[in-house]
């Protein structure tokens, strides 16, 4: 039997062996270190608790003189290119909805942003998706004829990324991150030019006072151009208005117990009386909503009580309620979904009967009718609040012919 010791060169090569052994040991340790670097821990069942959050859904409703409009996502919502946002229309005085998404003549995977010009016309911005990097805009006043407007850069993923003043001037929030910009068009949604950028605003004194995280909304109040933002600084509501060539922070300051909550302006909704900002408050344990409304040219704010979200994560769909204020439909980790209406005259929230499951948004028609729009894949169902507000009755069901796979 031969062993290594039988080698005649064993003694003379002892230093070399030691050297080799040390080298290999170092290599092995190196390999283990590399392996350790590559190793990851399999996620356990418990995750570190995160802050509660609330975010805005693009699903919304709007009113024009021609009728009611609703924007909802349909299709396979887990697959971005098989999610198709639909634009439903119900003529004034009618009871049935119809899908008008095909009139937009563009794929709606990225989402739809709607804005009205004093209730006379509706502008629809189609968010970019897949290989399209800018947003087409199209306008209608009667829901039959559509006129394309000049395109803008990619509209932000925010329901109030587009706003039109009564005089026809428009603001658009485009891009994301530090590249986000607010563009302005003097009239007719044409000749867009840069008005403000997130990076410049964040670097300005009012931006630093807020600690801007991102720009989130644009709007008008009594002729003032407004930009909404999310703020890192607790208790500061990031609403900015133009003052000469600079911007001023004009959002309301929140008192305790919200003084430590970071805030996000989810929307800047034009109401009958003026403008209401819907603000999400993010705390360690819970998320809350407050509304701040202004009606005069001095941008004096009245703040509503907080609406406490039952779960740690919430999504809110909001829109106007004619002559009352705005609605907020909240869903997320808490069940059942909550539908609340803000009365801006008294700045109070009133909660309505819980809408049916999978309600995407709600429509408050001027005639007092309330509809909950429920979507499931290609099915659209309209539920009407009936029985004195105590139950929802099914009114209409539509099948939308979605062409899955058509966007890439």
């Amino acid at each position: 039997m031969s062993t290594w010791a039988q080698s005649g060169r064993a003694r003379s090569g002892s230093w070399a062996r030691r050297f080799l052994a040390e080298a290999f040991a170092l290599m092995a340790l190196g390999a283990l270190a590399v392996s350790g670097c590559g190793a990851t821990t399999v996620a356990g069942p418990t995750a570190r608790a995160r802050s509660a959050t609330v975010r805005a859904s693009l699903a919304t409703s709007a009113e024009t003189s021609a009728g009611s409009w609703a924007v909802v996502a349909m299709g396979h919502l887990g697959q971005p290119l098989n999610t198709f946002w639909q634009l439903f229309f119900r003529p004034a005085g009618a009871s049935a909805w119809s899908d008008r998404a095909s009139a937009l003549a563009v794929a709606t995977n990225g989402g739809l942003i709607v804005a009205t010009q004093s209730g006379k016309s509706l502008a629809v911005g189609i968010r970019s998706a897949n290989n399209l990097s800018y947003s087409p805009l199209i306008v209608t006043s009667d829901a039959r004829s559509w006129l394309p407007a000049e395109p803008v850069g990619a509209l932000a993923d925010q329901p109030d990324a587009l706003a039109i003043a009564a005089g026809g001037e428009a603001l658009a929030l485009v891009g994301d991150g530090r590249a986000a910009q607010v563009l302005v068009s003097a009239t007719g949604l044409t000749s867009w030019r840069a008005l403000a950028s997130e990076s410049a605003l964040a670097a300005s004194p009012p931006g630093r006072a807020c600690g801007i995280v991102s720009l989130t909304a644009v709007g008008y109040s009594a002729g003032h151009r407004l930009i909404g933002a999310s703020c890192r600084r607790g208790g500061v509501v990031g609403i900015f208005t133009e003052h000469g060539s600079t911007w001023r922070l004009v959002g309301p300051g929140l008192l305790q117990p919200f003084g430590h909550s970071s805030t996000e302006v989810l929307g800047l909704q034009t109401t009958t009386a003026g403008l209401c900002a819907l603000v999400g408050l993010t705390g360690r344990r819970s998320a809350q909503l407050v509304a701040a409304c202004t009606s005069g040219s001095r941008l004096t704010w009245r703040v509503s009580p907080a609406l406490l979200l039952a779960g740690p994560e919430g999504v809110v769909s909001f829109g106007p309620v004619a002559k009352v204020g705005l609605f907020a439909l909240i869903w997320g980790s808490a069940h059942p979904d909550m539908l609340a209406v803000l009365g801006e005259s008294h700045m109070t929230w009133s909660t309505l009967h819980s809408p049916p499951a999978q309600t995407a948004t709600v429509v408050f028609a001027p005639v007092g009718r309330v509809d909950a729009l429920v979507v499931d894949d290609t099915s659209f169902t309209d539920w009407r609040l009936a029985g004195g507000g105590r139950r929802w009755s099914r009114e209409q069901n539509l099948h939308v012919a979605i062409q899955f796979g058509s966007s890439g």
Partner: protein, 611 residues
């Protein structure tokens, strides 16, 4: 990873048929090489016989024995390379290699690994016929060379070539064997099979005298021992999902169970898949015990290989062989089932290396006698030409080695050419859309306005080659890809682009304002092309042009984009349509876009040449 795939389905008949055809043609070249070398060998034999009759032939055959360990490595890895080469000839390899082999491994690796791997994958994706066929011949040639060249320069050259090609495969095809991926484990084949091919190649490439001492074998066993111990530690590391058969209340498969289940689902004989399914069930129930067994075995084999006594090493080698075979069968699933297996995975090569190490310490050539001068490079002291002219066996091996090198070059030359060509093979475009239609009819006249407001008619473009297509400026999928293909084709044309005009007609009845054309041009970087015209007009003008070119445009329901025909025309300087291309851009990968651009550019050149 943009270059990772051509995006065409794995069993695309155009690609498969072209791949088989190229393999057949290259096989014919290999046969010609073999025939020529057989002829040369016959001539040599005639010389040898004449010299033998004249009494000039020295006695004796190959004078020195080859170390057993080296012979094992050389022949076994030669056979494995040939086997791998044949696996490369599977019809799913041209398109499946990147998507089913490279991409899954690279996906879990760090970004820098993905960048490196992407460089190689891009070459493969761009040339899905040439590169896989080249890989077949390189590997078959390497295997043959290893087998037929037992000693001397050619044998060592074979070892070096094997080591080099192994590193290439390990880097670009195996994503560094997944050593930088989180689920690194011996059980799944870490650090990659081809590492052992390279290691064996290095050992074969060492001077033959290195094998005359047990030191080499001891070094090999020490390296393997440390490797096994390291792998045992890694296997025992908590939190990597190996200690549980299933995770959590929802019975998510643990890391090992997940792999076994995945392997058992690949297409293979039923008895093998049921064997794997049985092991998966056992691991699901006893995951902790399975991992403990594995850790103990790995540590035991590693420590045994590090031991100084040959008897202990023998036990460790035997245990290692059993462990490797068990893993090869139960976890690696023999490594080559499923249609895109490229090798038998790591367990067999790994075993061969440590067996060779053991043989190198126990069966050293001429250990019992006086030290023998191991032959210098060519086997003895006589010159190459003398041996060639005098020894039949040497001449045969020389001829066979030359044949093997010839076979390797059948692969190396086209692969090198493909690697230096940044443009994709036109076969990809043909695989997606079929061959272009060849016609010779007068093109319909049009008169529209371009993105700058200038009026453009076909007559105004007379004397130039014109490519016409139809694009929706707010399209989210195909039109931007077609536009990119046009832009790339313009780049490929170089100075010839001055004789070419690229034209797109708006294919959306709503967004036809010039602002949309300008936005689209900016999006696609087309505003820099002076010969690019994106044309629009009134609804009726556009309808007329669409109809005259046979283009359908329709509103689509449900939030989908406008539906329109995807077609392009290549019009000659005389105003005649010469080619009609289906311009569905298919998957829109870098490879497919480049391929379409190559086709378009070559057709534009063709119409200019023929005018």
């Amino acid at each position: 990873m943009p270059g990772m795939s051509s995006g065409v389905s794995t069993n695309n008949p155009t690609i498969v048929s072209a791949f088989r055809s190229l393999l057949l043609h290259e096989a014919l070249i290999a046969v010609v090489i073999l025939a020529l070398l057989a002829l040369a060998w016959n001539l040599l034999r005639a010389v040898q016989l004449r010299r033998a009759r004249a009494g000039a032939l020295p006695a004796g055959a190959w004078p020195y024995p080859e170390a057993a360990g080296r012979r094992l490595l050389r022949i076994a890895f030669g056979l494995i390379w040939i086997f791998d080469g044949l696996l490369q000839a599977q019809s799913s390899m041209p398109l499946g290699m990147t998507t089913q082999v490279i991409e899954p491994t690279a996906a879990s690796s760090p970004v820098w690994v993905q960048h490196v791997v992407n460089a190689g994958a891009t070459i493969w994706s761009n040339h899905p016929i040439t590169v896989p066929a080249s890989a077949v011949w390189i590997q078959v040639g390497l295997g043959v060379l290893l087998i037929v060249a037992p000693l001397g320069y050619w044998s060592r050259l074979a070892g070096m070539a094997s080591a080099f090609w192994g590193i290439v495969v390990w880097t670009f095809a195996e994503s560094f064997g997944g050593v930088f991926a989180p689920a690194l484990t011996w059980a799944f084949g870490a650090p990659g099979a081809v590492v052992f091919y390279s290691l064996a190649g290095v050992l074969i490439a060492l001077p033959e005298r290195t094998w005359s001492s047990p030191r080499l074998g001891r070094t090999v066993l020490s390296v393997m021992g440390l490797f096994f111990v390291g792998m045992a530690v890694l296997q025992a590391w908590p939190g990597r999902g190996f200690w549980q058969g299933q995770l959590g209340h929802d019975a998510t498969p643990g890391t090992l169970l997940g792999m076994v289940q995945q392997m058992s689902a690949t297409p293979q004989p039923v008895f093998i898949s049921s064997l794997l399914a049985s092991f998966a069930a056992f691991d699901a129930a006893h995951g902790w015990a399975v991992n403990l067994f594995l850790v103990v075995c790995l540590a035991g084999v590693g420590i045994g290989l590090l031991a100084r006594r040959a008897s202990v090493a023998r036990v460790a080698v035997c245990a290692g062989i059993v462990l490797c075979i068990a893993d090869w069968v139960l976890i690696e699933d023999f490594g080559f089932f499923g249609g895109v297996g490229t090798d038998p995975n790591s367990m067999i090569p790994m075993s061969l290396v440590f067996i060779a190490g053991y043989l190198a310490i126990t069966r050293v050539p001429a250990m019992n006698g006086a030290p023998v001068a191991i032959p210098t490079a060519l086997g003895d002291g006589s010159s190459f030409w003398t041996r060639l002219a005098s020894r039949p066996a040497y001449a045969l091996r020389a001829a066979a080695a030359l044949a093997a090198i010839g076979i390797i070059f059948i692969g190396v030359v086209p692969m090198a050419a493909a690697s230096m060509n940044p443009n994709a093979d036109p076969i990809i475009a043909e695989a997606v859309d079929g061959p272009p239609g060849v016609v010779n009819t007068a093109a319909p006249e049009f008169r529209l306005v371009d993105q700058h407001g200038a009026t453009v008619s076909l007559r105004s473009l007379g004397g130039k080659a014109v490519a016409v297509t139809f694009l929706d400026p707010v399209c989210v999928s195909d039109c931007p890809l077609v536009a990119e293909e046009f832009r790339q084709a313009d780049g490929l044309l170089g100075a010839t682009a001055r004789q070419v005009v690229l034209v797109a007609v708006v294919a959306n009845p709503v967004y036809r304002a010039r602002a949309y054309l300008v936005a689209f041009d900016r999006q696609e970087g087309l505003q820099r092309l002076s010969n690019w015209h994106f044309l629009t007009g009134s609804g009726s003008e556009l309808s007329r042009v669409w109809n005259s070119f046979g283009v359908q445009v329709a509103f689509a329901p449900g939030g989908a984009m406008i539906a329109h025909s995807e077609i392009s025309y290549v019009i000659g300087p005389t105003g005649h349509i010469r080619y009609i291309l289906n311009s569905n851009p298919g998957p829109g990968t870098q490879a497919s876009k480049s391929s379409f651009a190559v086709v378009l550019a070559s057709e534009l050149r063709a119409v200019l040449r023929s005018s």
